[in-house]
């Protein structure tokens, strides 16, 4: 159109004017997040341009904050009534932040979405308090076993472990200094509780009932690995990044890990497979904890809130959702989308299979979960380092959890 110099200039002036007019009515939706991996950033940028093209009256503005600061920042901004329109909050924290009064109940809009009806019960429970809904999961992740195919072949093991007995046997077989059979993270952070939960829950145990037999068996199971030497004693100091490094550098034949690490393991060129978390006895179902972030709408003004909900609904389009979950290495919280992802990618399949029974962590203790998790991981560390026997460590933790849980 703008062929000649004159018409080009005219077009330019016209479009600048139009943008100017449009801008005066633009609503800005600020989204605070801690996604710092390149793939995630690209994914966010793609949603932004798609959404802004479809909704010229809304502008998306991303703000990155480090993981450790997101929660305190969200609370601080809420305290001074300057909340961003949307915060991407880690799912176990959502109900806590909602309880503090920082989030808007968006149940009226969310329950209308077809994808909401198709959302797995685990992710749903992480954002629901009674009839109130405080967010929509961006996607979920959880844990499974990554295994080194070459080491399995060398040790003459034909199939990955499916039960606890298999895992114990395989881990012992694969241990050959300096290689450990298995690796998990038991460091002094939420990571320890989170990595132990698949074993606790699959065995029918509960954080709120740590003195019961299933919990004891689950902690004994972990402790035995360390005592027999098929898991390094250093796991009490390894965060999940350290665990992945051990696996990638060939120091561990198996690791408990989530889908966010797939990209990094692939990059290393290692020949590996992924298998669901082994269950106590054949025929049982693995129950894993859910990770993943949630789009949460903060209490702001009506116009911004409406725009924020519009954005969230836009992302819920199944085709878009699949694309985003793939770039984020998430399993979609929406079943039909997750199933598709699993069919397309065998490495995601174990995670997809586990979604049906996966549980949200706040199902144990609600807003008190962080304090409960702290008590549980202290018990884990005490047992693994041999500071106290499994029984004693767990009863001490149970005592602490009792006083915590009594607080509201």
């Amino acid at each position: 159109m703008c062929r000649s110099w004159w018409s080009f200039s005219a077009c330019a002036v016209l479009s600048v004017t139009l943008i100017g007019i449009a801008r005066s009515e633009v609503t800005t939706v600020e989204i605070v997040h801690y996604f710092n991996v390149q793939g995630q950033q690209d994914g966010l940028a793609a949603i932004k341009s798609d959404f802004e093209a479809a909704n010229p009256d809304i502008k998306i503005q991303y703000t990155y904050v480090p993981f450790a600061e997101l929660l305190s920042r969200t609370l601080q901004m809420a305290a001074v009534h300057k909340s961003p329109a949307i915060s991407c909050i880690d799912n176990p924290d959502v109900l806590r932040v909602a309880k503090a009064g920082a989030l808007k109940d968006i149940s009226a809009d969310v329950t209308k979405l077809s994808t909401w009806q198709d959302t797995y019960p685990g992710p749903k429970s992480a954002v629901t308090d009674g009839q109130k809904v405080y967010g929509v999961p961006i996607g979920s992740n959880s844990l499974a076993i990554f295994y080194n195919k070459k080491m399995f072949a060398d040790a003459g093991i034909s199939s990955p472990p499916a039960t606890w007995a298999d895992l114990t046997e395989d881990a012992a077989k694969l241990t050959k200094s300096p290689v450990y059979g298995l690796d998990f993270s038991a460091t002094n952070s939420e990571e320890a509780t989170w990595q132990w939960e698949p074993f606790l829950w699959s065995n029918g145990g509960k954080l709120l009932d740590l003195t019961a037999a299933p919990a004891k068996a689950a902690l004994q199971f972990w402790t035995d690995f360390v005592q027999k030497g098929s898991v390094s004693r250093d796991v009490v100091n390894w965060n999940q990044g350290d665990v992945a490094n051990q696996f990638i550098s060939g120091r561990a034949a198996m690791m408990v890990m989530g889908p966010w690490m797939l990209g990094q393991v692939h990059k290393s060129g290692l020949d590996f497979g992924v298998t669901p978390i082994p269950v106590p006895k054949a025929g049982m179902k693995p129950v894993v904890p859910l990770g993943g972030e949630v789009w949460c709408v903060s209490k702001t003004d009506e116009k911004t809130e409406a725009a924020a909900v519009k954005f969230i609904a836009f992302v819920q389009d199944p085709a878009r959702l699949e694309k985003i979950c793939n770039t984020f290495n998430y399993i979609s919280s929406v079943k039909s989308v997750a199933v598709k992802q699993g069919q397309a990618n065998p490495e995601l399949q174990p995670f997809v299979l586990q979604m049906d029974t996966a549980r949200a962590r706040p199902e144990e203790g609600g807003a008190n979960y962080p304090a409960i998790s702290l008590a549980a991981r202290t018990a884990i560390q005490k047992a693994l380092t041999g500071q106290s026997p499994v029984d004693a460590a767990l009863s001490e933790a149970a005592e602490k959890i009792k006083t915590v849980a009594e607080k509201k």
């Binding site: 305290a79 939420e190 004693r233 560390q381 380092t385 500071q387």
Partner: protein
Amino acid sequence: MQTVTPIGDAKDRSGLAGPVNFRALKKRAGRSQRWFTPYSFVLPIVLFTLLFLAYPVIYSVALSFRDATIDTFVGGDMPFNGLANYQQSLSNPSFWRALLNTVLFTFFSILFQFTIGFLLALFFQNEFPLKNALIALLLVPWLAPILTAANTFKGLFNEIGPFNQIGHLFGLPNLPWLADPRLAFIAIIIANIWIGFPFNFILLYAGMRAVPLEIYEAAKLDGAAYWKQVSHITIPMLKPVTVSVLMLGTIYTVKVFDLVWIMTGGGPANSTHLLSTYAYQTGFSVFNFGQAAAIATVMVLLIVLLNLLQLALQRK
């Protein structure tokens, strides 16, 4: 025009070149400005101190008397709860463990940092080739980002890491350095000594250089042996430097956070927490801001107390 004063006028020049006449300046400033002129000079630093130093400290202390958790934080109605935060902290064995750890950590860190720093400083009083290059190298631990140092030490103390490999040469068994509560505590102290000794070294080195050589010469003439010179000249002459080195060292060490947070996270089983990491965990992992503030206040009191103690000891 006659009224315009030409540049370089004799009267003006004499005013510039002569000694500054303060009384004249004051008069020119006018009566109304007289009283606050001096204050306006200190105003920036007073504002800075109030805003960036006093406010956070006072806020933190005030927070320690309130029931501040996630639930009460957003509403802003953190109710006053007196000494409850202190009561709860003091009745928690983890707190006492962290307090004891902080004291032991500070004591052993400073003891070794100072001793190593002092001996090195003595050694470097001699002249030898490559001396300055070596001094620069010795400062590296102090300059290295703690993040890097802590992660490196985490690797060195790994069960299959270099320290255990060296241990094997001397017939030592594989030690679970960071997985055993006692060894982990020793490990973080070792790492902290490595980070802190250059600071002691360089200040003591500079202090020793400032001691007049004539005193040593006089002592030599009187037949004082080397160690006599050290104990009767160097150490007494260094006293002012020693006081500041120990004081700053104590403050730095009580405050250590990142090193421990990265190396052990306060684990295994909360056995290596210092007050700083324990306060952080209470604040940002359990979200009890009020109790975290109470712990931080105790930490500040501890620093003040240790320094008073040191001053009193030095005065003797």
